[in-house]
């Protein structure tokens, strides 16, 4: 059995290339150029899923992006992807897909019991039912919903595919390659404008591929082909198929998703799977066309009921019959076009037209072809469960209120046409306030909000001649404004059949005694009765009705349901549709894969990785790295089978006893120059800076205007008007912006320049009692004695031919220096220090040992300066000058900041001197107190003190000043720990600070 619904010939598919694919485990065949939907229909498969709420059988309703039903789980190249529309997914060899939203199988679905219980599942059912009883939620409702609902399963594997982002500028972005898109693109391109023409389908041409028209003595399809091939040759034009412009954002920024490889069995090497384009367009032409509107009648969701335009597209593009015994139900001439196509291919359709006695060229053609037409007739209900098998039809009275006798006629599909809805999503997203156009019973864009112009069917213009004329003119006129060229294009001769007025009728009344479900929203199972209930319960705003009933809230965003929903509300409320108004259109127009949104910014690419010039040395010497902001820093250097704990202890101990070196390149560095540099520092830091001599460094703390500590660091006076500021690694960028803010906006009179030099200097801290001895070896020509280079001193020197800066500053609390050389020489410097330090047992140390050293010294860092602490809290109040004003000073007299029991930094030691204290734990007075136990403070940083050989922590503790010697408890419910501790001074080692001055 193969493709028994495929025509002998015709369509735009490549019949020379047969493809095999699997659906729900069964093998089928289709052709290159098919979609999964067209190939399944060719094989007579119409049952593809189950509906969301009632689990009713679902088939195909459309042939493109508007499809509400045929959503499948796709399997491609050992990956799986949910939420794929079968009507959009192009067929490739070996494609596999499965139905979603059905369990255990599409043919036997347990959830379908909801269908028989539907009296219990009316509008607002989620809000009403699952609220009570409360305990049922976790145990009963949620597991049930999770099993029964959903539109597929997201893969939990890492996505191996690559997704790209591209930024582009153009004069005109044209969304949609139907007649209006092609005409406007052509005219604009001829005027020399930079044009991007985007088409979401694989084939260009839009409605021209399926309509029976003639442009310039060519068929619509051939005309489209010739225009596209000409555009493709032009250097100022980018033509993209499989590309959906899905969002219109501020300032004419549009985003387009290009499916580069989704139609292939496997992504080609070096190709992305998808590409997201961020396009800033001077002008935007929206030629997104229109979507056919359904007619509403009983069981109108049965597989086999579909849009007449979709039936025509399957026929003309794919050479596929959606049925061999079709019924066409229409309120306008479009249904006739579909019927005529059936007839031309040897099928005998029946047309039911709700209109009384319409007359037009198209209707005449249908009559002449001998097609059976019943005027004033409607479909009352579709019959058949998994597929349409017949239809109940009836004559309808002229006022459309009364149904005549019901007859049942056999058919295998019902093609419906309720006229056309312009696709106004992009215009609406741009901020355009849409207006209702009575003549077509639909909204069209109003006055342009941004630089957007809507053309053709998207603008409510449904004749080809008018569309082409408008679009040629728009393309020419708009491009002329930009390029100043004025190339006239001769307008082609257009032949199309004239159609007659559509019927405003759209919803078939229920026959007496019947309670058919008449669906509005096919994806979310919202029926006419649900809207009626919502209105009865008092919902009025269309935005509320939408959320209560979930009308239009599915992944198809109500492309086929919105307008019918509005018409229903307006009828019941006795208001005109524009008074009801439509809900907001929000991007994306159609679902976009998360991968495309994320682009390349995944894993290691999610932020830049910065490496110091000594990185390769660290790697060679078994460094284990840690992320420090955007930097990679050695956490410790592993020797043998050492653990982090063992290694960091060894490294820290070696600093306390011999000498260690640490890569401090990552510290923020800012070069400050100008006659007012000292004045700037004096205003930025809390302590005094006007009298710092040349060749000296000073430690400083800067506040935010609200009095909270922002950052700390040392700044060195290099020469008269030249300073070198260091910041913490984390705050480097913020401090630079902070200085720029004050210099540019607040005190522009200060003559100072600041620039980041973080990456220009490589830095090594040399710390430990033997550090001076090592320095003497490194700089034999300099006097680095305690007198020659005292604590907080600075000198410039030469390190074996390399320019170096030496700062005598210490973070570890030991006698220490920091040597900076230009980044290119960093590696050389590092190796020199290691080489000459051998005789002093020099060892490199990482951030873990660095932390240990600073914690037991009581030096504060980021974990104490956490954006919640003031100078007093971190015992930096001694650096607050009383004699000058500075940023944030005025805030320091706030009541909370000056209270007598204000929090302060303390040291914490466990009573057993063994149990290590988890960072982030709370300090409490009584471990047994009932919850909530009053928190007195928190542990900010913990280490194993190498000096005392026991655990030691820093904490920010309420009334810390008066708590020294107190016994408290550390509680960590997360780690299930209660530890009795003693509060000690935060300076656990060398409290007088003698070592740094030795």
């Amino acid at each position: 059995m193969s493709q028994k619904f495929r025509l002998e010939n015709g369509g735009l598919i490549n019949r020379d290339k047969k493809l095999s694919f699997k659906f729900n485990g069964k093998i089928y065949y289709g052709y290159e150029g098919d979609t999964l939907a067209s190939a399944l229909i060719a094989n007579g498969v119409h049952l593809v899923g189950r509906s969301f709420k009632y689990h009713r059988p679902r088939g195909f309703f459309g042939a493109g992006v508007d499809e509400p039903y045929a959503i499948v789980q796709l399997y491609r190249n050992n990956e799986t992807e949910p939420n794929i529309k079968a009507t959009e997914q192009e067929l490739f060899e070996g494609l596999e897909a499965k139905s979603v939203n059905c369990w255990p199988s599409v043919n036997f679905d347990i959830g379908a019991i909801n269908n028989f219980l539907k009296i219990f599942l009316p509008a607002g059912f989620y809000y009403k039912t699952f609220m009570w009883p409360k305990s049922f939620w976790y145990r009963v409702y949620e597991p049930f919903i999770r099993k029964a609902a959903g539109l597929g399963v997201a893969s939990t594997k890492h996505d191996k595919e690559r997704y790209e982002h591209k930024y582009e500028y153009c004069d005109l972005l044209i969304a949609g390659s139907g007649p209006s898109g092609l005409a406007s693109a052509y005219a604009a391109a001829k005027n020399g404008a930079r044009v991007i023409l985007a088409e979401d389908k694989p084939r260009f041409g839009g409605s021209l591929l399926t309509s029976d028209v003639n442009i310039g003595n060519q068929s619509g399809e051939d005309w489209a082909k010739s225009i596209i091939s000409e555009l493709k040759e032009m250097p100022n034009v980018v033509v993209k198929n499989r590309s959906q412009v899905f969002g219109y954002y501020d300032h004419n920024m549009l985003v387009m998703s290009e499916k580069v490889s989704d139609h292939l069995p496997k992504t080609k090497k070096h190709h992305p799977k998808q590409r997201l384009w961020y396009i800033r367009a001077k002008e935007v032409l929206i030629s997104s066309g229109s979507i056919e509107r359904p007619l509403v009648f009983g069981n109108n969701d049965t597989p086999g009921v579909m849009l007449s335009s979709a039936a025509k597209e399957y026929l003309k593009v794919y050479g596929v019959l959606v049925g061999k015994n079709p019924l066409v139900f229409t309120n306008n001439d479009s249904g006739y076009e579909t019927a005529i196509e059936f007839k031309k291919n040897g099928i005998n359709p029946i047309i039911l037209d709700s209109r009384i006695n319409p007359q037009s060229e198209i209707i005449d053609e249908a009559i002449n072809l001998g097609i059976k037409i019943k005027f004033s007739y409607v479909v009352v209900a579709a019959q058949g469960y998994k597929k349409v098998s017949s239809a109940d039809i009836a004559k309808i009275s002229d006022d459309k209120k009364q149904l005549g006798t019901i007859e049942n006629i056999k058919c295998d599909c019902i093609c419906v046409s309720g006229f056309w809805t312009p696709t106004i999503h992009l215009a609406s997203q741009s901020g355009n306030k849409t207006k209702f156009k009575d003549a077509i019973d639909a909204f069209v864009p109003g006055t342009s909000k941004q630089n957007e112009t809507t053309l053709g069917a998207a603008n409510g213009i449904f004749t080809l001649e008018e569309t082409l004329k408008d679009s040629f003119m728009a393309g020419q006129h708009i491009s002329k404004k930009i390029t100043k060229n004025d190339n006239k294009i001769s307008f082609p001769n257009v032949v199309e059949k004239k159609s007659s007025q559509h019927d405003k009728f759209w919803c078939v009344p229920l026959p007496k005694g019947k309670n058919y479900k008449r669906f509005l929203d096919f994806q979310n199972d919202v029926a006419v009765s649900d809207i009626e209930i919502a209105l009865k319960e008092g919902y009025r705003s269309i935005e509320h009705v939408k959320r209560y009933t979930t009308l239009g809230m599915a992944t198809d965003q109500g492309k086929t349901s919105n307008l019918n929903g509005l018409q229903l509300v307006s009828e019941i409320e006795n208001k005109v549709v524009p008074a009801v108004g439509h809900t907001t259109f929000r991007p994306p127009y159609t679902p976009i894969s998360i991968g495309a949104i994320v682009g390349r910014e995944v894993g290691k690419h999610s932020k830049p990785t910065r490496k110091s010039p000594m990185h390769s040395w660290h790697e060679k010497n078994n460094a284990v790295f840690v992320d420090a902001g955007v930097w990679l820093r050695p956490r410790y250097y592993k020797q043998g089978s050492e653990t982090l704990f063992e290694a960091s202890k060894r490294e820290a101990k070696n600093v306390r006893t011999n000498v260690g070196i640490c890569d401090v390149t990552t510290l923020g560095k800012i070069d400050i120059k100008g006659p007012d540099a000292a004045e700037l520092l004096n205003r930025v830091y809390t302590n005094a800076w006007l009298k710092l001599p040349v060749g000296k460094a000073r430690y400083g703390v800067m506040l935010r205007e609200d009095g909270i500590v922002m950052d700390d660091g040392t700044t060195t006076r290099i020469s008269e008007n030249h300073y070198h500021m260091t910041t913490t690694t984390a705050q480097a960028a913020n401090v630079l912006s902070h200085l720029e803010y004050y210099l540019q906006l607040v005190w522009p009179e200060l003559n100072v320049n600041v620039v980041s030099t973080t990456e220009q200097w490589a830095g090594a801290a040399i710390a430990g009692p033997k550090s001076r001895k090592l320095l003497e070896k490194l700089f034999p020509n300099n006097d680095v004695s305690n007198e020659g280079l005292p604590f907080m001193g600075y000198m410039e020197s030469d390190l074996f031919g390399v320019k170096a800066r030496i700062f005598r500053i210490s973070f570890s609390g030991e006698l220490a220096y920091e040597v900076n050389v230009e980044s290119n020489n960093g590696h050389f410097m590092w190796e020199k220090i290691i080489e000459l330090g051998q005789e002093f047992q020099v060892q490199p140390y990482g951030t873990e040992a660095l932390s240990t050293l600073r914690i037991e010294m009581g030096h504060v860092a980021g974990s104490e300066l956490d954006g919640r602490t003031i100078s007093y809290d971190t015992s930096l109040e001694g650096l607050i000058s009383k004699n000058k004003d500075f940023i944030g000073k005025r805030s320091l007299n706030r009541e909370a900041f000056t209270s007598s029991d204000r929090q302060k930094i303390v040291g914490v030691v466990p009573l057993d001197k063994k149990t290590s204290i988890p960072e982030g734990s709370h300090l409490v007075k009584d471990a047994q107190a009932p919850l909530p136990n009053k928190k007195l403070g928190h542990i900010s940083a913990s280490c194993w003190s190498v000096e005392h050989d026991n655990p030691f922590s820093l904490a920010i503790l309420k009334d810390g000043k008066n708590m020294i010697g107190e016994k408290l408890f550390v509680m960590s419910p997360l780690k299930n720990k209660v530890i009795p501790v003693e509060i000690v001074s935060s300076h656990y080692v060398d409290p007088k600070g003698e070592r740094v001055r030795s």
Binding site: G431, E705, E740, L745, D885, R890
Partner: protein
Amino acid sequence: MLHIKCPHCGMRSQNEFSYGGDASVKRPELNKEISDEEWDNFVYNRKSLRGKHLELWQHLYGCRQWIKVERDTSTHEIFNTYKADEEIS
């Protein structure tokens, strides 16, 4: 995404800038005696305007200049941009 005209560099995408708040706020002069209320108004109190708003942006990944942008907070329309020291009429 906004398109902001940096008065120094020209039209640039929003992601090159960082937002800096209300540009009409003036920091009190240093060493000047002011009331708690004045200080609180400077540090904390901001109007959340709907409509025309003069705000600060820094061209962070560009010239690094702080600029003033006159923008409608509800429509995102940008009426004008100014250099930090430019007089605004």
